[in-house]
Amino acid sequence: MYGWIWRHLPGNTWVKALISMVLVLAVVFVLFQYVFPWAEPLLPFNDVTVDEGMAAL
């Protein structure tokens, strides 16, 4: 998969390395900016309040 991407990047090794860096940073940005903020409330790690849940019904 990554080998395939590497072979399809244009330019010599240095240009490829540079483009790869930019791609990696772009992926990290999208994860931090959009994916993680969306995923976090769905995961049970950070609920801090006491709440009326099943037990209180």
């Binding site: 998969m1 790690f45 950070n46 801090v48 006491v50 709440d51 849940g53 209180a56």
Partner: protein
Amino acid sequence: MTATGTDEESDRSAPPPSPPRRVRRTIASVVSVIGELLITAGLILGLFVAYSLWWTNVLADREAHKQSDQVRRHWASSGPKGPGALDIKDGIGFLHVPAMDNGEVLVKKGTSTEVLNEGVAGYYTKPVKSALPQDKKGNFTLAAHRDGHGAKFHNIDKLKDGDPIVFETKDTWFVYKVFAVLPETSKYNVDVLNKVPKESGKHKAGRYITLTTCTPVYTSTFRYIVWGELERTEKVDADRTPPAELR
């Protein structure tokens, strides 16, 4: 090596790969793609840990500083006007807990995720409505994050009986003393927020404060509760000299 030997070898590799070899190559590439996907998944999970334990703190602290400055500026610009000093929208005041060693925590209305993610503590509006510190009787109930998003109550386990919890409003210091701790309770235990929280050992109405957050650290299986009772109040002077507990 003889010439015949090389001829034989090149002869053998010359024809296109036989079906079994092609199958093997396909399997190998499928396995390598799966492997790369697993490595990627591992990296993403690692990044998620960095996001929740570090980056959300950066964002929340930035937001909390901005809002705290706003409140302080608002207090400074609006003259002494008696009880109207509480500003519900921006935040009602600051919580100082020396034992938690985390400076001042802005307190705002509500305990929704949006509010708490700003790196502040929120007072409950539901399921049990919180009293405010200046109310004659009642329980001032707060929640804040244990980890990430400012992690304002991270060190809640450092609080022991007798430790001061100081709440600062525009014109009053409310000095509470911790009298009971519940290190682990169900997340559905809303009784801890009651006007008179029975589990703390109190049976009469009084001026209480309740801090709630999740426990154990990095998870939210249970809730950690700390109760305090108002010891005294102090008028804020012109220099905003903090009470003895904070000096």
